[in-house]
């Protein structure tokens, strides 16, 4: 599974480690990266950009810690996140479990292990969404504006984690056509990007991922 197209947010208070992480993610092919040094900045970015995934350090210096941040994400944004932390004691782990993270990577991190964690998290997240695709038809009953068959196809592809190019290939359409359909889809779902689309779908269908 390709994680290169994912928009990833790195939340880490130690600048050297944050920088190293970003470089490593770039090495993995990721181009859409955001970074925050604390929970406040992270929430600001999430609210504005709604990234696909967040890497969160538990210890964040001043302000809220990573677990508190995760709770807020769960409450308001429902994007998947992975803890990246030096904490590995039972107490921290049990607190971590309650927030249902998509993954957990121990510091000092190993880039291969981080990549694996990102892949697994992304896979599991969209797998959960795909699991609901069977009911995707129900979505029209709950939306003010119903989706067309093509738009529904696109929605499926988005939930598979496909890129525009992949969708175009899959649906035998040009990338531009895909973009047009996507615009319509975004409009109908009141979304600005893929992540928001998925979020919307989740909300409409109810329940978590």
């Amino acid at each position: 599974m390709n994680i290169a197209h994912l928009h990833i947010l790195v939340v880490e208070d130690e600048p050297v480690v944050r920088e190293d992480l970003l470089w490593n993610l770039k090495d993995l092919g990721c181009r859409r990266l955001s970074a925050a040094a604390n929970a406040e900045a992270a929430l600001h970015i999430i609210d504005r950009e709604l990234p696909d995934l967040a890497l969160i350090d538990i210890h964040l210096g001043e302000g809220q810690n990573g677990i508190q941040l995760a709770r807020q994400i769960n409450r308001a944004y429902r994007i998947p996140f992975i803890y990246l932390t030096a904490f590995s004691d039972d107490q921290t782990l049990s607190a971590v479990k309650e927030t249902m993270p998509a993954g957990f990577v121990l510091k000092p991190f190993d880039i291969n292990r981080l990549r694996a964690a990102l892949q697994i998290a992304y896979h599991n997240y969209y797998a959960a969404i795909r699991h609901r695709l069977g009911r995707l038809e129900d979505i029209n009953e709950r939306l003010p504006e119903t989706l067309t068959a093509r738009e529904m196809d696109l929605l499926r592809q988005i939930c598979e984690g496909a890129s525009n190019k992949q969708m175009a290939e899959q649906l035998f359409l040009s990338v531009n056509t895909i973009k047009t359909h996507l615009k319509n889809l975004y409009l109908k779902l009141d979304a600005n990007n893929r992540a928001e689309v998925i979020l919307k779908v989740q909300k409409v269908l109810g329940g978590g991922y």
């Binding site: 130690e14 480690v17 190293d20 590995s88 004691d89 000092p108």
Partner: protein, 636 residues
Amino acid sequence: MFTSYRKIITSLVFLHTSLLFSTLSGQTTAPASAGDTSRLQFYLDSVPKINQTDPKRGIALAEEGIRLAEARGDGHTASRLQLYKAVGLDIAGESQSAIDLLQTTKPVFLELGDTTRAADCDVNTGIAYYYRGELDQALSFYLQAYEAYHRIGNAYGLSRLLNNIGIIYRIQDKYPEAVEIYEEALNIKRTEKDSIGLAATFQNLGLLYSYQEKDEQSLHHLEEAVKVYQQLDEPREVASCYTSIGDALINLGRLPEAEERLSTAWDYFRNFPEDEYYSYTLQLLGEIALQKSDFARAHDYFEQGRSGIDGGEKKELLRLFLEKSAEANYGLGNYRQAYDDLKAAAAWQDSLTQEKRLELEKEMEARFEVAQREKDLEISQLALAKQQQERRYMLILLGIAVLVIGGVLYFLYTKNKTNRLLEKKNAIIEEALGEKELLLREIHHRVKNNLQFIASLLSLQSRHVTDDRALSVLQQSRSRVQSMSLLHQDLYKGENEVAVEAQTYLSRLIETIFSTQNIREDRIELKQEIAPLRLDVDTAIPLGLILNELVCNALKHAFSATKTGKLSVRLVPQEEHLLVEVADNGPGIAEEEWQNTDSFGYKLIQLLMEKLQASLNIYNKNGATVQLIIRQYQLL
């Protein structure tokens, strides 16, 4: 025969404590004009005297005096008057009131320190009991007083008291005891020069000896008594002594002397028919006449003696006279008369026997009652004892129950206390442990963060290095940091923070090396044989680092990018050391070459080996096998 009637008709000279007081003077009312002191003195002087003639008036006067004394706060005088009032009550016949009053007054005297008058109370109590016929009670009080008088050396009181005690012994037929008492009294009275007392005691002793048929001794004491009585001009007592002397002389067979004394006595008693000695003297005179066979005179005496007796209390005496009379009549030849006398005597005898029988019956009855009462008493005492025993058992049971309950409560209390103490201690320990845990967690967290920081630093720096050798150095360093940090991941996860699971740690280490070296799993066949050992941190760190070097070295040199290789890692405990073996199927290692190349890896291995006291062997057979024998290690 003589003895029996002698006892009947003879009473001893009784000395009432009233004898302690001087004779009555005329005055019987308190002097109105005199002061309180002299008025009280009047009461003290007059009450005892008035008691003898008019006890009721004596009592009233005493009460008057008591009120005055108490009003003046004169407790001693009040108590003295109480004593006199009690004597008055006794004389007036109210013996119980007298006894009660005496026994309540006695402790007052004792408190005031007047032991003599306290003893006087006992003496008068004894007298009251004596008059009621309760001789044992009387005796016990007399003896109490006797001891008290003895202690304080009151000879006068003692001598009078001895007299009274003697009387009781006499009545109880305890002659030897009585004699002893009188002898003692005699001594006192001699030293005290108490003539009348002395005479009375002599007389009493004389009588006592006569009861015991010790006529010589009787005679002697009676003669002594006569001497004193004569000096004191006591004609009645002289006469009574002569009668007794006559009796003794008859017994001794000295009839003329006896007749002489009895005649003298008779000269006195002929004028007092009521006197008990009247009949007694006649009796003895008759006896002498009988023995002289002068029956006519004997008969006259007996007749005369009998005439004054009207039966009643003196039945025994009457019977004696009738018998004697019969004897005389027989001597005179008046057989008919003699027969009648004997018959009458026999009738009186019967009557007496009857009385005696009745008395006996009464006594038997009384004894039976006493026995019955004793039996009842015994039964009630037994019942009481049983009850007491039951109560004792109950108390013992109760005691045991209390002890047991107390013990249990105490046990629970102490247990609870201990528990609370333990809880407290546990809480403290837990708190300390919690703090320690927190601290450890924090330290591990920092160590790992720092390791991450170092790793990131090395990683970032390597991005700005173009020289391949320098890049390799940085990457190797990063790999070593990673290897050390792996250990920390496992180290602080659970409770066995100091132990490192060899299997987990080493396999993860190898996996990490593969991962950082970008080795695809299908390219190299990895074989691990790691014993399930729990290593000490100080063993695990150098071991991990050495293994890191050996595996990296094997991956670097043994395998070309295209060839599929085999790598085997073993950690096996042997007899006295640990064996670590890393084998590959590469071209093999020339040890000298490895040493000589400016390899930091080899130097690091040497340094770490020193810590583990390890030795290194390299075999080249189907590849290279590096064997490490670790001698200094610690398993947990």
